[in-house]
Symmetry: C2
Subunit: 378 residues, 2 copies
């Protein structure tokens, strides 16, 4: 059966990129590899919309989050964590592991933290060393107004640190214009790569904090050492260099389409997916949806674990379940990276067929028709 | 021109493994992937010669070294670092980054730390929480008598922590019999994989120290969290799962040959390479050579940077230079992983040709003949 992967990471990788991964091994301490790394990091700067240095790490995205906090915030300092789901909570957990005091600004799952809440937290905690947020909260499908956060944070001494792991490359994200000091992402989402690489952009304001922090409490993720090595497009430790080589192909595809065009396409995808689900009677779980994935609630009598099992087994469609307490209650359809409008139609069509099979009273075609109307109106 | 990669990491990856890397993306939170990870970790146990839990990390080998020290040794405690080169020094640098006092037992580059030196250090520092050594010191080609270290350390409360990154899978290494408490390795050496994965085996003695350490000073490399996830063959963060999938193929090749057979083959390769170089008048740099790579000094009038440049440009043979102060003075020929006797002959033949071109007075064929004699006598 033909398989379609529509999970919020890993996402499908273009065939041209996969073939790069099958090429013979090369040595990494060479002018050729340094040129390759320099090229990928340069292209990523365009995708990040930044002039800042981008540091590559051989790690999951969480490695970049750890690198950001451990290097820039000393133990005993305070950070404000904006928490709208599992990945917001991760910021708090990382802070705790590094002896950093975390002030949590929390909203229920499905809601987004509002700029006014951040303004109040900044007023209450003028000594905060950083604010940590998530661009796209993958666990709920919520997108945050990081631009608004940036305006508020820039007036304070705090650093603006963003987890954009599942958003960057799909959802609008203007690192410099939005005054993001450390922007962290991973390879396996909208960047159309397998997992294994993480990247973070670091502003001058952030470098000043990093340079002042005498005890980074990390060796592997030491950003000062990485910066020194990047002067010659080198890395302190053996990088996952075959992933870097393959990534050249994926980022070139992004540049060829144009990052602003991709953002617009993603908005259309998101609108179409929501329209399709709404026509089937499935309501958005995210009050403020992000455009990288669409998360919807199940009708009262339908368990999403059963629906997703049938989708996969009968139709080769792999969507994601909710995590922890949300398991069985929502489905998450990712439409970032190497996904087009017909993949979305396929997913909607599959959900329709399974819902009908499970006794949900809808007419065949209502979901796909609603989505088609959005695509036709672009 | 046909290329031959003979560097001490990355090493050549078998074609069957490379083709696995080109397969379509899969989701990682599935029974299929958990079974795959469980299988790879089980096979690695055979290669490590251990019954201990093996923890996979998405990182360079250095990530495993950091995980080992940060989790098992609290800040302010003392470790003994056995230093015979650049990678021994890395242990000291990691200790420093984590506020651990490092007692260095140092020998000049090219020499090996002797068990008597460790015995004295253990007597002088009965309060040492751990001893950190390297099985194969890649920067000099030295191999350490880790079995002897293990006997001494096991009598003390100290943990026996080994960097076996460039040795494991080539050089004899019996984790349990040699009482290695934490054995750290990387994917891109004798395990015939691209870089991006690291693994460490953890003994009961080590878990006790880890469980007692209230402040692991790491989130990404938290071994307690990893252990909990491994109960269901899962990982705390998105792993580089396409590397795990491909690794299945490489480790099965190792099991098919048999780890003890590989050790014997590697001893033969090492003997042949040294015999070949000796016949060309190139002396071993390592006083106590390890069998994963052969490192030799240059004749007085020959700069290894020039020789290696010609080898690569004229013959497609990629060997490694010395690092730092040793640059230009030695060459490093790796013969671990997916390398056979004819690759070694090719390397020796290339070195002969370039030496002759550079005015070194040897007869064509002396090196390859000396190596052939070793292969014929097996």
């Amino acid at each position: 059966m033909k398989q379609r992967l529509l999970t919020p990471g890993p996402t499908p990788v273009p065939e041209e990129t996969l073939l790069e991964l099958a090429k013979p091994m090369i040595f990494h301490r060479t002018a050729e590899f340094r040129a390759m790394l320099g090229e990928v990091l340069g292209d990523l700067r365009t995708i990040f919309c930044t002039k800042n240095l981008i540091v590559p790490l051989t790690a999951s995205g969480t490695g970049a989050l750890e690198a950001a906090l451990a290097n820039s915030v000393p133990a005993g300092a305070k950070v404000i964590c904006l928490i709208a789901g599992r990945f917001g909570e991760r910021w708090r957990n990382i802070a705790k592991a590094f002896g950093i005091e975390a002030v949590s600004v929390t909203v229920p799952y499905g809601q987004a933290v509002q700029p006014e809440q951040l303004a109040k937290a900044l007023a209450d905690h003028a000594d905060a060393a950083a604010v940590c947020s998530t661009l796209s909260e993958t666990s709920t499908g919520v997108g945050h107004d990081v631009a608004a956060f940036g305006k508020l944070i820039a007036k304070t001494p705090a650093l603006h640190i963003v987890d954009s792991i599942s958003g960057l490359g799909a959802m609008e994200c203007r690192t410099d214009e939005w005054q993001i000091d450390i922007n962290c992402t991973g390879s396996q989402k909208a960047l159309m790569m397998p997992p294994g690489l993480a990247f973070l952009s670091v502003s001058d304001k952030a470098w000043q904090a990093i340079d002042k922090n005498a005890n980074p409490r990390t060796f592997y993720f030491d950003l000062k050492k990485a910066r020194k090595n990047l002067e010659t497009n080198d890395t302190p430790f053996t990088p996952a260099h075959t992933l870097i080589r393959a990534m050249r192909v994926s980022v070139k595809k992004i540049l060829a389409e144009g990052i602003e065009n991709i953002w617009a396409r993603q908005r259309r995808f998101s609108e179409a997916a929501r329209a399709g689900f709404a026509a089937m009677g499935l309501e958005s779980f995210a009050a403020q949806p992000n455009v990288a994935l669409t998360v919807v609630k199940m009708p009262a009598n339908i368990d999403s674990s059963v629906l997703l099992g049938k989708l996969e087994k009968q139709y080769g469609l792999k969507l994601a379940n909710g995590q922890d307490n949300l398991k069985g209650k929502i489905i998450r359809l990712a439409h970032m990276g190497h996904i087009d409008q017909f993949d979305i139609l396929s997913a909607l069509a599959g959900v329709e067929l399974v819902l009908i099979e499970m006794g949900h009273a809808i007419e065949p075609g209502v979901g796909v028709t609603a989505a088609q109307r959005v695509f036709a109106n672009k």
